[in-house]
């Protein structure tokens, strides 16, 4: 006697399932719908509509020159296959130094020479980007070194604490077990 209602409800459910089982995949459309805001935010970020990057670090003075530095994404470094973890920074040169600076480099730790200045920025003086490898063993008090090279052969350097350049990277490092 108690089985009657159970059976009835199961058959409603199974009828519902039979009727709609091949239409459930319509729900897959929720995936692109859900990612759409992210897609458009990224498109705006790469067009430069929302500034130099997700998080502006500020103006950094490098000898007579300066540049505006930003994190492309306000987040931890991303894994990039066998190359390890990478962090993208964007930069824009100051108005007066645009014509004088030949190349700009980024490196964690002080470079020993211009040849080892780190990764080079690609792009134009208005908006350029560099992909910086961040070893998981990087120390929390590490510094980000900026090297700038002039068309006349001059070279200038400056550094900022990594904690200032990317708090998200520092937070990530603390979870990597490479504590000092």
């Amino acid at each position: 006697m108690s089985q009657v209602p159970t059976q009835a409800s199961r058959s409603t459910l199974s009828r519902f399932w039979h009727k709609w089982r091949f239409h459930i995949n319509v729900l897959l459309l929720l995936v692109p719908l859900g990612f759409m805001p992210k897609y458009f935010a990224d498109a705006a970020l790469f067009r430069g509509d929302t500034g130099l990057g997700e998080r502006e670090i500020g103006e950094v003075q490098v000898g007579p020159w300066s540049l505006r530095l930003a994190e492309l994404r306000n987040e931890a470094p991303r894994p990039d296959g066998p190359a390890g973890y990478m962090k993208n920074f964007n930069a824009a040169l100051c108005d007066s130094c645009r014509e004088q600076v030949k190349a700009t480099y980024l490196r964690i730790g002080k470079p020993r020479s211009l040849r080892a200045a780190g990764v080079i920025f690609f792009g134009t003086p208005y908006r350029m980007g560099a992909m910086l490898p961040v070893p998981a063993k990087t120390k929390a008090d590490a510094e980000l070194w900026i090297t700038m090279e002039g068309w006349d052969g001059s070279m200038h350097q400056a550094s900022i604490p990594l904690s200032q350049a990317s708090p998200a990277t520092l937070a990530w490092l603390s979870t990597q077990g490479g504590k000092p």
């Binding site: 039979h18 089982r21 091949f22 239409h23 995949n25 319509v26 897959l28 459309l29 995936v31 692109p32 990612f35 759409m36 992210k38 897609y39 990224d42 498109a43 705006a44 790469f46 067009r47 430069g48 509509d49 500034g51 130099l52 991303r78 894994p79 990039d80 296959g81 066998p82 824009a92 014509e99 004088q100 030949k102 190349a103 080079i120 920025f121 690609f122 792009g123 134009t124 003086p125 208005y126 908006r127 350029m128 002039g150 068309w151 006349d152 052969g153 001059s154």
Partner: protein
């Protein structure tokens, strides 16, 4: 196993390949069809993308003249690259940087050098390709799972093609006696439609599913660090070849026309379609385009200070495997021979989308019939619905 029950099984397999995911397959087909002609759709919607000559005999400007015209109109702009779309009715796509840090494509008239307007913030081409290609799932670590989701569809599609041909007995007869019965009810019509468009689309479905299988393999290889590339690692301009200047101003570069001349001297038959400026003081200027083989580009990297060709990537540099794999993308998109090939791809894309729909309609009609039959016998054999549907299907395909 009897012949009849074997064909029943093939038929079941054929139905089940797409049926549970028909809507997903349909949207992927429709967005793919749109993506094929997305450039043309933008051209229709946006007059700024059109290349209207000021007079019938107006000559096209060369690349240096284009850059000069842009600089004259907006002195602060920095040009990143110029690309000339395949068809002459499109304006040039010029990637530029503005002092406020924005990086966009502007449409430039190839006859006057006038900046006709920036590409709209909503990039219809990129959007349809992203929706079709990876379901908008972002790439965070290697290929996005949306890419896998979409490219995985290549396998049921390939299987649909094969099982469809097995189930449709003597399908080649359909080429000589095309049947499309319009007046005998919806189920007959959609059945005829499905078979007729199916046999005429054999080549297209094969091309699309094989190329998408490659996209699946490509992602898998990339994510597992397997490389078949013979392309050399991108080199940099040697420090010594960039002379220092005493006044600290940038070292002058060669003209774009000079770079194109160098590239053409090295690559016979090159029809240059893009020029990319060096991305920094130590990178090369690139010139590239197609030649006799429409499915691949050849490029030359040129030292922007000396004009020396530092590296080339020619057809002959590709391994035979790369010849196949690098041809996959243009074959998939139909973007290798101008508007007519795109329109053919678009037409068969629509047909393929309709095949998904007609397949579903056939199933729905058949199930409606089968359900009606099953209801009659409900008390006797309530669980026979599926079997009825199948036998109805077998009757239907052998019609």
């Amino acid at each position: 196993m009897s012949k009849k029950s074997r064909s029943k099984i093939w038929f079941l397999v054929h139905s089940w390949l797409a049926l549970p995911i028909w809507f997903f397959v349909l949207i992927v087909c429709v967005t793919g069809t749109l993506a094929v002609v997305s450039q043309e759709i933008v051209w229709l919607a946006n007059p700024q993308m059109r290349a209207s000559p000021p007079a019938d005999d107006a000559p096209r400007l060369n690349y240096d003249q284009i850059v000069a015209a842009i600089k004259q109109a907006e002195p602060d702009i920095i040009v990143d690259s110029i690309s000339r779309p395949d068809e002459a009715h499109f304006a040039l796509d010029v990637r530029v940087n503005y002092p406020d840090g924005r990086e966009l494509t502007v449409y430039v008239n190839p006859y006057t050098g006038a900046i006709q307007g920036p590409a709209p913030p909503f990039n219809f081409q990129a959007f349809t390709r992203a929706l079709h290609g990876w379901w908008l799932v972002p790439f965070t670590n290697g290929y996005s799972w949306g890419w896998y989701l979409v490219s995985f569809l290549s396998l049921p599609m390939l299987a649909s093609l094969v099982t469809g041909l097995v189930v449709y007995k003597r399908f080649w007869k359909g080429f000589f006696r095309p049947t499309l019965r319009i007046r005998q009810g919806a189920r007959i019509f959609w059945g005829d439609f499905h078979r007729l468009s199916g046999i005429w689309s054999i080549w297209f479905i094969a091309v699309i599913s094989v190329t998408s299988t490659w996209f699946l393999i490509e992602a898998f290889m990339f994510d597992n660090q397997i490389s078949i590339s013979t392309a050399p690692v991108a080199a940099v301009v040697p420090r010594e070849s960039v002379p220092l200047t005493t006044d600290g101003s940038p070292t002058p570069m060669i003209s774009l026309e000079a770079a194109i001349r160098e590239a053409k001297a090295r690559i016979p038959g090159l029809d240059e379609s893009f020029v990319s400026m060096p991305a920094n003081a130590y990178s090369y200027l690139s010139v590239g385009g197609r030649s006799w083989y429409p499915l691949m580009f050849q490029t030359a990297d040129i030292n922007p200070y000396t004009g020396e060709v530092a590296a080339t990537r020619l057809l002959s540099d590709r391994s035979s495997l790369e010849f196949v794999t690098e041809s996959m993308r243009p074959l998939h998109t139909g973007d290798f021979g101008g508007i007519w090939i795109k329109l053919i791809w678009c037409f068969f894309g629509l047909l393929l989308s309709m095949m998904v729909l007609s397949g579903l309609l056939i199933w729905t009609k058949r199930t409606a019939l089968a359900t009606a039959n099953a209801l009659k016998r409900r008390n006797k054999r309530p669980r026979d619905e599926a079997a009825t549907a199948n036998s109805a299907g077998t009757t239907e395909i052998s019609q």
